[in-house]
């Protein structure tokens, strides 16, 4: 598989186009178009959910109705009004009877799709040491459902729960009930309310007290079906003294229409626990004229609930037509730490408004924000971040660095930092730079033998190094390549 994959990738890379734009031909099970209480009930019934969750969803749906026409408008992104009644809120690969009990029962067409994407689902191969497979447990979400989760048994031995959230609702209802919506409440914002009403699948992770999760956990999101949105819901709980590193990756077919992806991710770190959450987002960005692409409207938030806990977000955002995303940390526990490392690229006509919120509540809490925004083509890139220090947060410290890199003269980079300090002893530092890839840098690289695209890729990777270093090794390499690919054609 590996040499073949390499060939496929090489050919696709040579063509200089979005590599993941193919469609998998597969029978779908879909909800009727539109959104109303019946659809919410339909989704809940499809998943055979308990009453409490149906009620939870319906409450969210009513909140969403109350928020109707209250989409956030403050972001620096522009797109036609979305008709939420003109979308499908549930699509799943069709299957007979119950879900697959093992990988052997998964539709081979799906497995081929993930193979094409380079996602190692076949843990047998991983165990057999197939090159390039890596030691990573994967949960693969195809449109609205999880199709396979690997390494579950091995993780279970250590007490780590890693499964689709729909499965967690069934098998671990006490945990889900306790934590679902505890960081991002149903009515938090327009898109979070929508997600809470119609969320389909996503991953659930629970790491018990004192356990250091022995491998990277990863979820791979794929939108395949036409005219659907994806509304995944991820919940990660790190119990006292535990550690976990989690990575999500995303792709979608190349289509002329815009598709909505409105996820909610909640992280809970208890005393002494540490969660590292990394994202490599490569949804289809649309074409050079701004046609098609994913609308990526995502609410991600973590709560450092216990003392000495830590949550670290790392994101590499290269895809999507529009990105609206602010992975945040509530620093509740004393001495807790929040980190946000971000690389975001806007090429073609992509628009990204992304950043973070660090809310200091506990004593001696610390936060670090490193944001690298790259704009090329006709892309528009905005860093938007909030650092808030509450009156009881003695000794709170924050350091923020926002760097923007511009390539060409038809793109834009913007920095909008909000600093809200309500404690006289807080230390808050903000540094920002805006630079261009200069002709001198390009020429220097070319004089040494690099072609213009290699030169841009090298310079951009250097610009982003501080952030890329935060990624787990195998994903860092992927991310570096992705940066180069995303900027193809950015220089004339």
């Amino acid at each position: 598989m590996s040499p073949l994959r390499e060939t496929v990738e090489t050919v696709e890379r040579a063509s200089g186009e979005y590599r993941y734009g193919f469609v998998t031909e597969i029978d779908e099970d879909r909800a009727p178009t539109g959104l109303n209480e019946e659809i919410v009930r339909f989704i809940s019934a499809k998943k055979d959910e308990p009453d409490w969750l149906l009620e939870w969803r319906l409450k969210a749906f009513r909140m969403w109705l109350g928020l109707e026409d209250r989409e956030p408008r403050w972001a620096n992104v522009h797109f036609p009004k979305i008709d939420f009644q003109d979308a499908c809120y549930y699509a799943a690969p069709k299957q007979e009877g119950d879900g697959p009990a093992s990988l052997d029962e998964v539709d081979p067409e799906l497995l081929r799709t993930y193979e094409k994407l380079g996602i190692p689902l076949r843990e047998q191969e991983v165990l057999a040491g197939v090159a390039g497979a890596g030691n990573v447990a994967v949960d693969a979400v195809f449109d609205s459902v999880s199709v396979a989760t690997t390494f579950q048994d091995k993780l279970a031995e250590m007490g780590v729960i890693f499964c689709p959230i729909s499965e967690a609702v069934r098998d671990h209802p006490e945990l889900v009930r306790k934590y679902l919506g505890s960081v991002v409440p149903q009515g938090d914002n327009f898109y979070a309310a929508l997600n809470s009403a119609v969320f389909s699948d996503g991953s659930f992770v629970y790491v018990p007290k004192g356990v250091h999760c022995p491998m990277e956990l990863s979820t791979y999101f794929r939108i395949n079906a036409r005219g659907t949105g994806q509304f995944e819901r991820t919940l990660i709980i790190a119990d006292e003294g535990s550690r976990v590193s989690y990575l999500e990756g995303c792709t979608a077919p190349q289509r002329d229409e815009n598709q909505l992806h409105a996820a909610v991710v909640e992280l809970v770190a208890l005393k002494d626990a540490e969660i590292k959450y990394s994202t490599v987002q490569n949804w289809y960005p649309g074409d050079a004229d701004g046609k098609g692409g994913i609308y990526n409207f995502v609410t991600k938030r973590g709560a450092c609930r216990g003392a000495d806990s830590k949550i670290s977000w790392t994101q590499v955002e290269t895809g999507s037509a529009i990105t609206w995303k602010y992975p945040s940390v509530l620093l509740q526990g004393d001495r807790s730490i929040g980190e946000f490392y971000s690389v975001a690229i806007s090429n073609l006509r992509q628009q990204a408004d992304t950043g973070t919120k660090m809310i200091h509540l506990g004593r001696d809490t610390r936060s670090t924000i490193i944001s690298k925004g790259i704009s090329a083509g006709r892309g528009q890139q905005t860093y938007r971040g909030l650092v808030r220090v509450q009156p009881k947060a003695d000794g709170a410290r924050n350091f923020t660095q926002c760097d923007s890199l511009l390539i060409g003269d038809t793109c834009g980079g913007h920095t909008v930092p909000y600093i809200d300090v309500r404690h006289p002893g807080a230390e808050v530092a903000h540094e920002a730079t805006t630079s261009r890839i200069s002709d001198a840098q390009l020429f220097y690289c070319r004089q040494r033998g690099l072609d213009p695209e290699e030169a841009v890729s090298l310079i951009v990777n250097g610009f982003c190094r501080e952030v890329l270093q935060q990624l787990p090794m195998e994903f860092a390499v992927e991310a570096q390549k992705l940066l180069g690919i995303s900027l193809e054609g950015a220089v004339g």
Partner: protein, 251 residues
């Protein structure tokens, strides 16, 4: 006599519509070290930038043959792969990219363009360490970002290091000696002299005679007002040192 490695005929070039090179004729043979001297504004840097293929320099007439090829028809990276190297007067900083990565990426890009196999990280490191040792440079150099926070002397030495690693056939040194203290000058000269193996050609562009005490040229050419005003041997450089460029300045 065989064709020289580099032959420039009647080269005219403009910058922002202003003619700077007004008909240069110059031949440099393989194995030769040619010094090009001249007062400020005589066109020395324009000449090196035109040879390296920098944007913003418009060639209006003449031709440049390099190793039997039309140099002016090649992209900068093609020239590099064909063995043309320029040591920059003002080396550029590339934050976040370490020297080792930069130099290896460049070397492999050139090798790939020539149809050679890439050099792996271990072999590269071995060669880089040897080269640094020879140039009396610290190994920490490899881990530092390309030219970022380097002193003027360190930047110039980095150019020499890259030259040694890339092993060009034609090296153009654009005022590499300017702003160097005597130790750095000696090291730069050592690096340049190590390139003299009878097959490579060097074009040393300089304002002062100083470097030429260490790198003894085979030929010396005075560039004045966009033309080669006089050519000679080493003696010409010494004469310029005594008399200055007054004789070549426009009246």
């Amino acid at each position: 006599m065989s064709e020289p490695l580099l032959r420039i005929r009647n080269l005219r070039a403009s910058v922002d519509g202003q003619e700077v090179l007004k008909g240069i004729d110059l031949a440099v043979a393989a194995g030769e070290v040619a010094a090009i001297m001249g007062p400020n504004g005589s066109g020395k840097s324009t000449l090196s930038n035109v040879l390296a293929g920098r944007d913003g320099y418009e060639v209006t007439d003449g031709e440049v043959r390099y190793d039997g090829r039309d140099l002016l028809d090649m992209e900068p990276e093609e020239r590099a792969a064909a063995g043309v190297f320029m040591a920059f007067q003002y080396p550029v900083e590339i934050p976040g990219v370490v020297n080792a990565t930069f130099t290896r990426t460049a070397l492999n890009a050139q090798r790939q363009a020539r149809g050679e196999s890439p050099i792996d990280a271990i072999d590269f490191l071995k060669r880089a360490r040897e080269t640094l040792g020879r140039l009396e440079m610290d190994e920490a150099f490899l881990r530092r970002d390309v030219n970022a926070g380097f002193s003027g002397g360190e930047k110039k030495r980095n150019e020499i290091f890259q030259m040694a690693m890339l092993e060009p056939r034609l090296a153009i040194l654009d005022e590499t000696d300017s702003g160097l203290d005597i130790d750095a000058l000696r090291i730069v000269a050592m690096g340049v002299n190590a390139m003299r193996d009878g097959r490579r050609a060097l074009v040393v562009i300089t304002h002062y005679q100083r470097l030429l005490e260490y790198v003894v040229p085979d030929s010396v050419h005075v560039l004045a007002d966009g033309r080669i005003a006089r050519s000679g041997d080493r003696e010409l450089a010494l004469e310029l040192e005594r008399a200055g460029y007054a004789a070549f300045q426009p009246a």
